[in-house]
């Protein structure tokens, strides 16, 4: 059993929990994920690591309540236990001194971006962060990311904070202003990552994205998380979750992520969490 040490409500549908998992915390690196299961009848879901504390032996994840499991997880309290918690899984982000790195986070994608921004800064990069959300209430980790970035830009769809518009608009502006960019990291909704990758492709700026396909085991056994990258089939759990954004088939990822949408709705309805 894995105890929930801390819980924060970041918005109506976005929650942050810190879980006691010393073995996972000891090894966790930016870019990796965990698989958890709430109880004996639960499904296994992957969540990207938002933070880790090796001394406390704790892992923090941030999630949006979208299906039955995340809704149920959102209702859990400090002191409650998760049945299973395995990780860290996937390949860690390749952190090195690139020069200037633009880190783009959208929605809950900001959460896994945070440890990457921090590591890139520690590696001596000039880090420009761009955070986006639908509105200011859905924006998260602004202060934390500001602290480890050289510059921070905010974009909201409704203009309630920062620039009105999308993260890609801010990126376009930076490029137009002649900002030298060596690498872009983009984590967020599939459509956001696609738009960013399409933009940077034009300027041949290396772009890394973190994919979130449906998984079962998370250890390379089931092949459910396969994604098409550069025309080849890759398994996000062991080959990723980070890939070259210019090679990812985002359309295919979107389709595959909708595989069980009807079943999910049905389960939510039955559980009274629709």
């Amino acid at each position: 059993m894995y105890r929930i040490l801390e819980k924060k409500v970041l918005s109506e549908t976005v929650k942050q929990i810190t879980i006691e998992a010393p073995l996972v915390a000891k090894k966790a690196k930016p870019g990796q994920f965990i698989i958890l299961r709430i109880d004996e009848r639960g499904e296994r879901i992957p969540l990207t690591i938002a933070d880790f504390d090796r001394e406390k032996g704790a892992i923090t994840v941030i999630f949006m309540e979208v299906g039955k499991t995340t809704k149920q997880l959102g209702m859990m309290k400090e002191g409650d236990n998760l049945q299973n918690f395995a990780g860290p899984l996937g390949v860690a982000s390749e952190i090195e001194k690139f020069g200037t790195v633009v880190c783009i986070g959208g929605g809950v994608g900001i959460a896994p971006l945070f440890p990457i921004v921090r590591a890139l800064k520690e590696a001596g990069n000039n880090v420009i962060s761009i955070l986006g959300a639908r509105n200011k209430d859905l924006l998260m980790l602004e202060k934390e990311i500001d602290k480890v970035s050289d510059k921070l830009f905010i974009a909201t769809d409704d203009g309630s904070k920062g620039q009105k518009g999308f993260v890609s608009d801010v990126l376009q502006k930076l490029i137009d202003e002649g900002q030298k960019i060596d690498v872009v990291w983009a984590i967020g909704p599939v459509i956001m990552m696609k738009v960013v990758a399409d933009l940077t492709r034009k300027y041949t700026i290396k772009t890394i994205v973190s994919l979130n396909p449906i998984m079962v085991d998370g250890t390379g056994m089931c092949g459910g998380c396969r994604v098409t990258v550069g025309g080849e089939t890759k398994f996000a759990c062991v080959d990723g979750p980070e890939f070259d954004g210019h090679l990812v088939d985002f359309e295919n990822l979107l389709l595959r992520n909708r595989r069980f949408i009807d079943e999910e709705k049905h389960a939510c309805k039955l559980a009274g969490v629709a």
Partner: protein, 461 residues
Amino acid sequence: MAVKKEKHKMPEQDPKKRIHNFNEVPLGYDVETAIAEAKRCLQCKNRPCVAGCPVGIDIPEFIKEIAKGDFEQASVILRAKTNLPAVCGRVCPYEEQCEGKCTLLKLGEPVGIGRLERFVADYIFKKGEITIERPQASGKKVAVVGAGPAGLTCAGDLAKMGHSVVVFEAFHAPGGVLMYGIPEFRLPKEIVKKEVEYIKKLGVEIRYDVVVGKTVYVEELMKEYDAIFIGTGAGLPSFLNIDGENLAGVYSANEFLTRVNMMKAYRFPEYDTPVRIGKNVATFGAGNVAMDCARTALRLGAEKSYIIYRRSEKEMPARNEEIEHAHEEGVIFKLLTNPLRFIGDEKGNVKQVECIEMDLGEPDSSGRRRPIPVEGTEFTIDIDTALIAIGQSPNPLIPESTKGLDVERKGNIRTDDEGRTNIPGVYAGGDIATGAATVILAMGAGKKAAKAIDEYLSTKK
């Protein structure tokens, strides 16, 4: 008295009924039938059956005890060589192993060795307690990676030799392929749990949620343990590498079976993991796993469940029993048929598979006649789900994360016949070493490695 030429029939669930449930298909011998079947054994002096058993069970001896009605003693003899008799008695390919060597084959059918093994294991489980004598502790610690057939066998044997054993399992449950792969109707999960309970009673500890190669590394285990056995099994599923394979509705056999068996998707939404199959399901491949997929699809409500295989019935690698059961249940066999591409609808779901008819040519490197496409015979089949059951390559996590570990070109860990890798004290066996094979071969490898580890530990200071 003349020996009965045929095996005593195994009572089975009616095919019409069983395609609507996940209960076990063969129901097992009763006491009278078991004794009668045991009496068919000629008790040959040269014991050809034993030579056919990868774990070397004293077959005539345990059968003799059944014939006498001493099932406890039969169990003691069985368990001296196998830690998983209830599993072996259900899923072993007996026809190629023990039963394939039986002297009675000259007269008719062999002794139903598998059925008798299952009978004894089930009889003892029903009776309750299995007495276990714990040997004197050796003071040595062994780490076993993976709680599948190879790992559990190795762990059980090492515990019987007095070593302290910890099994590290990535999943939340033990059994490996016994739990996620083989369906409930062929191997009830309660049986697997009971077998695991027995291994735990031998003193083996199992730690779940530990992904060796990620959560801990082999190098770290080497510092804490005197020896290590790696039994992480077959990992990455193979695909056909044809167009449309990443459409929604195309599953690897591993994903489909894991959802249904381990995660119990057949009981969704009572259990949270879903699976969706629609009306028409096509399984590609013709091994045991393919039969499991096709038969599972029927039980999930498929109206048509196809096996699509590029060779003919004769080349199908599945056990005869699985093929017969699939026929009885109405699985449609499209043999000498090869898929060319999957065709999707506007939402990205698979809706058709285009196939071509095949002809058999000269034998290839596997000794089987090579299938050759017959030009102009392309046709399509309407499907809602495709299940790819054509095998898998070894799990990459340990080979990739263990410095200096000798790995073969395909990613298997290289070992000698006793399971030794190139790193002293590190052993491997089962699918991770040999590539995808059977439960019993994995058990045999676990057993050999346990013996080699015991020898290593006794010479190590």
